[in-house]
């Protein structure tokens, strides 16, 4: 039995080794519902490292919104940009700005917030070598092309347009007139950064330090971030609760189940499959409010079939063939509103939202639709293929519904089909390489509540998110004029004229405005979503 004894020994040793590795892990505290006044909320794992100029998605933005305050802040109800750290922002020509920072503000580690904190942060964000994904936000500032050239290496480390003129003052020189520039400063990319950020970057990323109403208590990447009320916060929007525990969920269905079971206080993304039950489950504790998000169908204008004379008739016809009311009611359970312009209702009338601007072109009319498409030369290639990414966001359902609607209007079962693409990365990949042969899903979440943000990045010639490569001289001219206009109301009206050009050419088919949806437990109250569909955490009260 010698052999057997040996084998037994080997097996036992291996088993011990396996068991030992199992005991090695764990040990973090976390878990549970936190303290008495602490709100627990669902969260998704942020895609990028948590830095203000590097965060371009909602999950990371949520945290930054709690731990940072910038020069401006958007009112959660009206969306208007209000002074936060800015004492005043002066300009006489819409191109040179003098910014005065309020004194007495501090970061939660005790450092003072000065003009230098902003200038350092902006220079860091713009610099090519720091790989910041929101670097283009600084593109309007003079000297950006040196700090962040399109190709090659940077020839300067600092933006020449930024100058610190005193402890609390600095000047900004833009490379073009941009009248609404101060209103963009509420965006998180413009947040100030403490010296600690530059001194020990790795440590800062492990536990970010900001100047907002909350400070980071502990951060276990990928599972839990505990934020606690910062008692030294000098602002007026102090936290109404003791803190927020952001818990990463693998699936928003699980988060919803946890909410129903009383394990979680707040879910800011009610899964589509639960929308039918949400009223009976939560009663009045369900929020469904408009957010600054619009879904459109974009066209590949680099493809000749889509950019010939008469094809605007085809695009208008397609728009008329889509039964928006039915799709938003049945598939989205009224969490989307049929779009009638290319902006968002959160802007308000004064901000440039124009209900019904699209007119007849966005009204369901199958007979007229068929007529227009035929007048325009029919569907390019005989069939419409709508591309979308199939991995997230349940896009398949609505794309199929849109196609169904188009097929009905055309009286042809094969007029329109969905073209699923496996992953979001691959979808974006094909878009940026101009490989689209037909319309594709396009979603736009605003960066700041300005009509400019709904038009310029999407439709201006060669703009950053002009994925369809649409180009129109009249549109570009109107946008330039609007940006140069110092009077806000006139600027907005010029942007609306530009939007009219988009309409006349049907540069993209507006589908619907997206709502933010959230549900909360009876332990918390005063819950609201802002225009970015992010909960206003500091206002939440715990009973």
């Amino acid at each position: 039995m010698r052999g057997a004894t040996h084998a037994r020994w080997a097996a036992a040793a291996a088993a011990v080794a396996l068991a030992a590795t199992a005991c090695g892990g764990g040990g973090s505290n976390g878990g549970g519902g936190g303290g008495s006044g602490v709100v627990s909320s669902s969260w998704g794992d942020p895609q990028n490292p948590l830095e203000p100029a590097n965060t371009n998605e909602v999950q990371g933005g949520k945290v930054l919104d709690m731990i940072f305050r910038g020069l401006k802040r958007y009112d959660a109800k009206t969306g208007a940009a209000q002074d936060m750290l800015a004492q005043k922002i002066d300009t006489s020509d819409s191109q040179n700005f003098t910014i005065t920072v309020k004194s007495g503000w501090k970061f939660s580690n005790g450092e003072a917030v000065t003009a230098q904190s902003f200038v350092d942060a902006w220079n860091y964000g713009a610099s090519l070598k720091n790989n910041q994904k929101n670097a283009y936000f600084f593109g309007y500032i003079d000297g950006y092309d040196k700090v962040h050239p399109d190709t090659g290496t940077q020839s300067a480390d600092k933006l020449s347009g930024l100058k610190v003129t005193g402890t609390d003052t600095f000047t900004v020189k833009l490379n073009q007139k941009f009248s609404t520039f101060p209103d963009t400063l509420g965006y998180v990319a413009y947040a100030p950064l403490p010296k600690a950020f530059f001194d020990d970057h790795a440590a800062w990323l492990k536990k970010p330090v900001g100047n907002g109403p909350y400070s980071v208590d502990s951060y276990t990447k990928g599972s839990l971030m505990s934020l606690r009320k910062w008692d030294g916060y000098p602002g007026t929007d102090k936290a109404q609760n003791d803190g927020v525990d952001l818990k990463v969920y693998t699936d928003n269905n699980t988060a919803y189940t946890d909410l129903i079971a009383g394990n979680l206080d707040l879910v800011d993304d009610v899964p589509a499959s639960q929308l039918k039950n949400v009223k009976s489950d939560l009663g009045g504790r369900y929020i469904n409010t408009p957010a600054g998000i619009i879904q459109t169908l974009a066209f590949p204008f680099y493809d000749k079939n889509w950019d010939k004379s008469g094809s605007e008739k085809v695009r208008k016809g397609l728009s008329m063939a889509i039964d928006r009311d039915q799709i938003t009611n049945t598939i989205f359970q009224k969490t989307r509103t049929p779009a009638t312009d290319w902006t968002s209702p959160v802007l308000g009338k004064a901000g440039g939202f124009q209900d019904g601007l699209c007119g007849g072109s966005c009204t369901y009319n199958p007979t007229e639709a068929k007529k227009l498409i035929q007048e325009g030369g029919g569907l390019p290639g005989g069939q419409l293929k709508i591309s979308y990414n199939a991995d997230t966001g349940s896009h398949k359902e609505w794309v199929d519904a849109v196609c169904h609607s188009v097929n009905n209007a055309m009286g042809d079962d094969k007029a329109c089909v969905g073209n699923p693409i496996g992953t979001f990365a691959d979808f974006r990949n094909q878009i940026t390489q101009h490989k689209m042969s037909g319309p594709f899903r396009a979603g736009w979440q605003m960066d700041y509540p300005l009509i400019q943000n709904f038009l310029q990045p999407l439709y201006y010639t060669n703009a950053s998110s002009n994925d369809g490569k649409w180009s129109n001289k009249d549109f570009d001219k109107l946008v330039d004029r609007a940006n140069a206009e110092t009077d806000r109301a006139k600027a907005v009206s010029l942007f609306q004229q530009a939007e009219g050009v988009v309409r006349d050419n049907m540069a993209a088919i507006p589908l619907w405005y997206q709502n933010g949806s959230a549900g909360y437990s009876d332990r918390v109250s005063n819950v609201a979503l802002n225009q970015f569909s992010v909960p206003v955490y500091n206002e939440i009260k715990v009973s």
């Binding site: 039995m1 052999g3 057997a4 084998a7 037994r8 080997a10 097996a11 291996a14 068991a19 590795t21 199992a22 892990g25 764990g26 505290n29 976390g30 878990g31 794992d45 942020p46 895609q47 490292p49 371009n56 090519l128 070598k129 790989n131 994904k133 962040h148 050239p149 399109d150 190709t151 990323l205 276990t220 990447k221 990928g222 599972s223 839990l224 818990k247 990463v248 969920y249 693998t250 699936d251 269905n253 699980t254 988060a255 189940t257 946890d258 129903i260 079971a261 394990n263 496996g422 992953t423 990365a425 691959d426 979808f427 974006r428 990949n429 940026t432 396009a442 736009w444 950053s464 998110s465």
Partner: protein, 307 residues
Amino acid sequence: MGRYVIRRLLQMIPVFIGATLLIFLMVNVMGDPIAGLCGERQCDPATATQLRKEFGLDQPVWQQYLTYMGNVFTGDFGTAFNGQPVTELMGSAFPVTIRLTIVAILFEIVIGITLGVITGLRRGRPVDSGVLLLTLVVISVPTFVTGLLLQLLLGVEWGWIKPSVSPDAAFGELIVPGLVLASVSLAYVTRLTRTSIAENRRSDYVRTAVAKGLPRRRVITKHLLRNSLIPVVTFIGTDIGALMGGAIVTERIFNIHGVGYQLYQGILRQNTQTVVGFVTVLVIVFLVANLLVDLLYAVLDPRIRYA
């Protein structure tokens, strides 16, 4: 014996290289991962180039692979897109999944083999038919149905457990998810043991043991069970790897931040480093589990020996 183990360990090398290369190529075929990093908008070209350089994506695939493998041997599995080293992700994910797997395997061994022995000894009786029917139901119902149902009943309706597992994922919290994960395999273990026991019950050595007047318990545990376990051990051994890599459905339902979740995120974000790193470790787990099974054979049946 020692030579056998060494030979088996050497065999791992080509399997290891082949598997990583395949995964590497598959992830790369999906296109440029940087495109998905900037959300709905296009990354500005300069930043995209810079990021590509940082992650080594500007090199030809074969060179990326060589660099990657070189780094792996020094214990560097690269960096995920969120700036976290992949080893750190593994450090948080694997212990959780290993705990979950241990719970699942324990269920398989304890419940599966016990039920198998009972039914095997009472073939054709009501207990046997009942368990057979039950296992048939368990096998035919998909895991996500069982998982969601248990979560709803135990977690929401009756409030016996928390519907989701905390980041700690202690053993106690993993009992229900472990049972869900084990359910299908458990049914197979029951059926395998049952058949094997029923077959060996009629064999000569059992008859001899009974004729010698040995106590029934000793006949069953020492003679009958020991010989009947070989196919079961084979199954459970290969199941270790399958459970660790395939726990994704269970992990999603119960909010367990384990290997399945990390792999899923890695694939969605097309993060080569994460996906290849995790799969590499899973391949090693598979190989080691298979080796263990082979070694256990010799313990169970001394006639099976490796020179």
